[in-house]
């Protein structure tokens, strides 16, 4: 075998195993094309399974630093099991990383395959992952590279969860070629980040914006909504006087989104906010229909086992003091309490971030309610607090 043929063979073996192969930035498509061609003619080396190269989305993921890159790669591997995507990871070196700048001033590129196996081991779908890594200055090349690497005829989503990335990359370079923006309110460590996301979402308009945080809250929202199905019906919601969302410290954004969801759906008009003596927040609302008697909503930091949402319980009381509660009893368990039936234990499935990303690429990623609730939550946060001491 000639050295070239040997190198090609070794590259193909690595590709088939899903390992990264370093390629010239300008040669990515050509190298991928050659590897796929080889893979499709080497079907019998893979238990006879035909090789399909598939992509339903181009998924662009910016990240900064080696740690974020490793996490992104693990995420992409898992996403590929749920939906075939061409993942394009754009990584800027973090000056604090060991070995940063090893690539000099330029960009380095790697390509790899993601394999989905059928039960029994036969491989069925290969999708591909392209990683571009470079120093901070390389950011200026990312826009053009993404445009060159997008598979035509397939929609593009940008997964924007790293708040340290320069937002100009998104707004100037990526949004113009993107069909869906995916963010994660769960990664906002401080509430003001919510405003940043709100601004981004407004900027992205009319693109659909999917939020992993919102999707993470999906099973809780569903469970809570289910309390008011027949035979209970919607009456207690219209008669609500008090809403309490208990959350772990740090989960206040998820809690705020839940209050915003109920406020939005039930037409509550925000009046004022205040800090409570136990470190929580209180919001007062007027009823949308102008009926007498307002609603007070509390966000209360509490302790307890919890998943990434940080939400422990949603409790609603109505004028008759009846209580409607969904309350977490373990990370994956909740208790559902209604005045008309004994408490019931239900399993709460926590989805991994990759599963949420797959959902975000599906119809659930087009939920128009999210943008409305995000705007409503922003409005709640912007209310001037009544007590001294700013919460910002």
């Amino acid at each position: 075998m000639s050295p070239d043929a040997e190198r090609e063979h070794a590259n193909f073996e690595r590709f088939a195993r899903g390992e990264p192969i370093a390629v010239e930035v300008g040669e990515i498509e050509r190298e991928l094309g050659a590897l796929w061609k080889r893979a499709s003619s080497a079907g019998d080396t893979h238990a006879g399974a035909a090789v399909s190269r598939a992509a339903l989305w181009n998924l662009v993921i910016p990240a900064r630093g080696a740690g974020a890159l490793a996490k992104t790669k693990a995420l992409v591997d898992e996403i590929a099991q749920g939906v075939p995507v061409r993942a394009i990871t754009l990584c800027l070196d973090d000056p604090s990383d060991v070995g940063a700048g090893a690539g000099g001033d330029g960009l380095v590129a790697t390509i790899e395959s993601n394999v989905v196996s059928q039960p029994g081991g036969a491989r069925v779908v290969y999708s591909e992952e392209i990683t571009l890594r470079g120093p901070v200055a390389a950011e200026t090349h990312f826009g053009a590279l993404v445009r060159a690497l997008q598979i035509p005829g397939v929609p593009t989503a940008a997964l924007w969860t790293d708040a340290t990335m320069p937002s100009a990359l998104l707004t100037h370079e990526l949004l113009p070629v993107t069909d869906r923006l995916i963010v994660d309110t769960g990664s906002c460590v401080r509430p003001p980040h919510l405003f940043d996301l709100q601004r981004l979402a407004a900027h992205a308009h009319p693109l659909p914006v999917a939020d992993l945080g919102w999707l993470r809250l999906g099973s809780l929202r569903l469970l809570f909504a289910g309390l008011f199905d027949p035979p209970v019906g919607g009456a207690p919601l219209h008669r609500a006087t008090r809403l309490t969302v208990r959350h772990r410290p740090g989960g206040d954004l998820s809690a705020l989104l839940l209050v915003a969801w109920l406020g939005q759906m039930l037409g509550w008009r925000p009046l004022r906010s205040a800090q409570t003596s136990d470190g929580g927040l209180r919001f007062d609302f007027a009823r949308g229909d102008g009926a007498a008697g307002g609603i007070e909503a509390f966000l209360l930091p509490s302790d307890g086992a919890c998943d990434a949402t940080g939400v422990l319980a949603i409790e609603l009381a109505d004028r008759g003091r009846d209580e409607y509660i969904v309350c977490r009893t373990a990370i994956d368990q909740a208790s559902v309490q209604l005045p008309i039936a004994p408490a019931k234990a239900v399993k709460l499935d926590a989805s991994s971030d990759a599963e949420l990303c797959v959902a975000a690429l599906g119809p659930r990623g087009r939920d128009p309610l999210f943008a409305k609730c995000l705007a409503y939550a922003g409005g709640l946060w912007a209310l001037e607090p009544q007590t001294t001491g700013s919460r910002r």
């Binding site: 989905v116 069925v124 199905d229 027949p230 219209h238």
Partner: protein, 522 residues
């Protein structure tokens, strides 16, 4: 615990708005008649479990199995757990999820025509609903042999278990398994019995083929893409072939099959349903009645096969001994519970016409058989040749374009067309452009029963067969049975034979050859 006020019953749940994407039904109980049977264990409970796993069922949901066998709740749950472990799409079974699911699975013993048993069933159901805070929404699944359909529905009526729909009241729906009647007369009689008790909108006649992703995709393919529909007519389509082939013989169901034959078992329901979806006009909306109205028009436009052309348009046959998958298998007449003088067909091939503007002159060839070389169901649309054979001298390599829609297994769509072979000569070779569900979406589609159970809970009857559709298809099929009966009475039975492991009798090939066509290899 509180009881409910009248007022609260009437107000809709505002939080459901905005959760539409999730398609989660309202809390409900599902009663399964024939719960000790094969279908419950292999399909129904595994489907309900997988739906639970995918969070598509409401948190408040109960299953109550009913049958003549004596079983405790525990024994029934155990049996169902085994079923799920073996057959659920979402495997392995998650122990915590199963525990929560199984807590709401119950069993009640009783006979299908015993009023007292149904009174007990009602009491038990109400107890369960009260304990779990269910609103009284009910789905009754008739997973019993067809002889029990009418008695069960009568019993439901006597016990007032399935009241007619009324605004603001919980729903009661009934899913009826196939076969729905054995001819036009019995189907009509069953419809009459059923309509005595239930409104048509409460009835969900199941044909699991319609729950298959590719069958639904046929509508998307035709009506969501601009490029195919303009070609979908007699100007461009030469003919259509629909194949439903099985490798299995009659297995342990010889007794049933003797009465049914391929015509009743496959053609009257599955293949005619698939045909009507492939041939129908665009419905005004993707809604139950709009879609079913268009399917019905196709079934009503099926031309009755005239006696003079019967031999040319209908072929029936029985499998003889042969080989399947490297194993020798017996012929139909040697199968258990099959009469050695049986004239029941295990294969049928038909040439039929749809008398409509769109399909005038386009033959539809249908075939269905047991003990075929492979299990495959597909629709193949064969287009006419290009009007001018520019590459005529190389005509032997030019094949007509075929669009094949594979319903099972490996659900997908392929388009065959001619392409120039690389090289200096103008040689043309057929190539295929394929889309496969498993490959393109990376996930296998959900089981048909999952989709259909969910649709019924959501009150969506689009993928279920309406009374008039069933009668229209029986009306067409019964004429063929009638002709066969006349032939038997006259001692002129035309029943061919084919070796197991072949694509059917020569007569089926001759049927197409007479038109200058051939069956495709599916």
């Amino acid at each position: 615990m509180k009881t409910l006020s009248e007022e609260s019953l009437l107000l809709p749940n505002p939080l459901r708005e905005g959760l539409v994407e999730e398609r989660i039904p309202e809390p409900a109980a599902m009663v399964i008649f024939g719960a000790s049977g094969d279908l419950t264990r292999r399909k129904l409970l595994p489907a309900l479990y997988s739906l639970t796993r995918d969070r598509l069922l409401p948190a408040r949901f109960a299953v109550l199995g009913f049958g003549r066998q004596v079983l405790s709740d525990e024994a029934f749950r155990e049996e169902m757990r085994h079923g799920c472990e073996e057959f659920a799409r979402r495997r392995p079974v998650d122990p915590a999820l199963w525990a929560a699911f199984a807590r709401n699975v119950f069993y009640q013993q009783g006979a299908y025509d015993d009023p007292a048993a149904f009174r007990r069933l009602k009491v038990r159901l109400e107890e369960i609903e009260h304990t779990l805070g269910l609103p009284g929404n009910r789905v009754f699944y008739l997973s019993t042999p067809p002889s029990t359909f009418a008695p069960v529905i009568r019993s439901l009526g006597h016990a007032n278990l399935a009241p007619k729909p009324a605004p603001g009241q919980p729903f009661s729906r009934v899913i009826i398994e196939k076969p729905f009647g054995i001819d036009l007369q019995t189907a009509r009689a069953l419809n009459t019995e059923v309509h005595d008790i239930l409104d048509e909108q409460q009835i969900y006649r199941i044909d699991h083929y319609l729950g298959k992703e590719t069958v639904q995709n046929l509508l998307v393919f035709r009506f969501a893409n601009g490029i195919f529909e303009p070609l979908w007519n007699n100007h461009f389509v030469d003919h259509v072939q629909i194949t439903g082939a099985e490798t299995v013989g009659v297995e342990a169901r010889g007794g049933y099959f003797e009465q049914a034959g391929s015509m009743r078992d496959m053609v009257q329901n599955h293949l005619l349903q698939v045909l009507s979806l492939a041939a129908m006009e665009p419905p005004v909306a993707f809604e139950a009645d709009a879609v079913r109205d268009e399917k019905l028009k196709v079934l009503k436009a099926l031309r009755f096969i005239p006696v003079s052309d019967f031999e040319q348009q209908v072929v029936r046959a029985q499998y003889a001994a042969g080989s399947i998958g490297g194993k020798t298998v017996p012929g139909y007449l040697s199968e258990p519970d099959v009469s050695p003088r049986s004239t029941t067909e295990t294969f049928v091939a038909l040439k039929l016409f749809i008398d409509s503007w769109r399909w005038a002159g386009v033959p539809f060839y249908l075939r269905s058989g047991k003990r075929m070389p492979k299990r495959v169901t597909e629709i193949a649309i064969q287009f006419k040749e290009a009007p001018h054979l520019l590459f005529g001298k190389r005509g032997e390599t030019i094949r007509p374009n075929v669009l094949s829609i594979r319903i099972q297994p490996d659900e997908g769509i392929a388009l065959n067309f001619g392409s120039k072979l690389p090289g200096p000569a103008m040689e043309i070779a057929p190539v295929s452009m394929e889309f496969r569900y498993g490959s393109s979406f990376g996930v296998e589609p959900p089981e048909a029963y999952e989709r259909l159970l969910l649709d019924c809970l959501l009150g969506d009857g689009t993928l279920f067969t309406r009374a008039d559709e069933v009668e229209a298809s029986w009306s067409w099929v019964s004429r063929i049975h009638q002709r066969w009966a006349e032939q038997v009475a006259a001692g002129r039975t035309t029943l061919d034979s084919y070796p197991a492991g072949s694509w059917g009798p020569d007569a089926a090939d001759r049927m197409l050859a007479a038109d200058g066509r051939a069956w495709r290899l599916p």
